[in-house]
Symmetry: C2
Subunit: 257 residues, 2 copies
């Protein structure tokens, strides 16, 4: 019972232990306090804001500086033309972030015969670029959400996106970063797994899963509070179905040499 009360409290206070206190640099506060936004206002983004966000992605680090990513960009009009509906959550601008081993294939033909390594590195690098763009938006006071299974805008709808965005072989869509402004107060940060479950000194701790009980309860409770008509269980069931549908497509991507 005490742990439930603590969990409930953690849902509303769930803040990082050390970094937000005292004189933490602004960038660290941004890193530890960003939230996904699910409701945007009509207000557009300014062109220079969009450029800054894209530049932050372009200047992200990558393995051997090969920049194995592509950012497909959408104004509201372009999204509507492509998908015949508004940007999810009525965002003002959207960037579909892809792992890309296509663009370099003619320039570096020697690196084409290891598709699993290539695509794994490209996915990881795209994650670096995605976080850079997300943080750039936060720094500009622009809100965002990264979609991977919502609204057919991420990895779990790879086949759909490949067709809609005319993606060639070796290009895997991972997420859509939806951007915009919002006056809405965002809910608390969803619960994070305890530090001891995630950070392991010197070698892997196979028992770390046993430390996740409270976190799992918090996820349940948090979902119920923010989605009274649904549940974390139900969300996982939906997620599982989408993952099962996507598995063969994603697997096929790894074999597209």
């Amino acid at each position: 019972m005490v742990s439930w009360i603590k969990n409930f409290a953690a849902l509303f206070t769930g803040k990082p232990a050390t970094v937000l206190s005292g004189e933490a640099p602004q960038a660290i506060k941004l890193l530890c306090s960003r939230r996904s936004c699910r409701s945007f206002s009509d207000e557009p983004l300014r062109e220079e804001e969009i450029q800054s966000i894209l530049e932050a992605g372009r200047f992200a680090p990558s393995t051997v500086n090969l920049q194995t990513w592509t950012f497909i960009t959408f104004s509201r009009e372009q999204w509507h033309e492509t998908f015949d509906r508004p940007i999810p959550f009525k965002g003002a601008f959207a960037i579909t972030i892809c792992a890309d081993n296509f663009r370099l294939k003619n320039l570096l033909p020697d690196l084409q015969d290891t598709p699993f390594v290539n695509l794994s590195l490209a996915i990881f690098n795209a994650g670096l670029a995605a976080m850079s763009m997300n943080l750039a938006a936060e720094a500009l006071g622009i809100r965002s959400i990264m979609l991977s299974e919502t609204a057919r805008a991420g990895l779990l709808d790879s086949a759909f996106l490949r067709e809609k965005l005319k993606l060639p072989e070796k290009v895997l869509p991972l997420t859509t970063l939806v951007l915009g402004r919002s006056g809405i107060k965002l809910p608390g940060i969803p619960p994070r797994q305890p530090l001891d479950a995630v950070v392991m000194p010197a070698h892997y701790n196979k028992d770390a899963g046993a430390l996740l009980g409270d976190w799992y309860k918090q996820m349940f409770l948090g979902y119920k509070l923010t989605h009274p008509l649904s549940s974390f269980d139900r969300q996982i069931a939906i997620y599982r179905k989408k993952m099962t549908d996507a598995e063969a497509v994603v697997k096929g991507m790894f074999y597209k040499i």
Copy 2:
């Protein structure tokens, strides 16, 4: 000839077009100016700095908030005990960032039958966390480098790292973030591909590879300048050999259900 001069100039000036000018927020300046450091001083990191960096990783966003990452941490002593040599480039602290679908496997057994989707998402999420930690370090004035093929500390040495770090099935090491201080002036930012090659409005541009000629020349020139005894060609050849060695191991990881 003019383009060579322009390329040469770009090597030293290669800065993002818009974001560093004027009143850009500090976080954006960090995002667009971070550099990999390859020589660290003896000075250690403070415990609260390490905690802040790890918290930035723990608080990164992830698909369905599942936090499918693990951070294996090393002091100088722990790295030496594990690998029998110093942290690469004499770093003060190291974090090996892994995609992790092991920790959750008992808690979420329903999500275990789609290994390609799971691992792809986990790699992407780990990229988000890696960039968050990298940026947190930058914000604290701590320098860093992310290794994926150097010093057997990343994805290309998965089999070696799995043994050394006692990684179970479903855990894929991606990179080691080496951290420390340095008084050394860092070289310019390596050349980025042109914006038009990376950012594509509304759908994929299959001809973007043709825009990379200048960038490729810059990579050659830059390598020659910073590695007079080597070349970009030679680096690519080394990289290719390591990728070929790693391919079967990485592929095997995707099949470990």
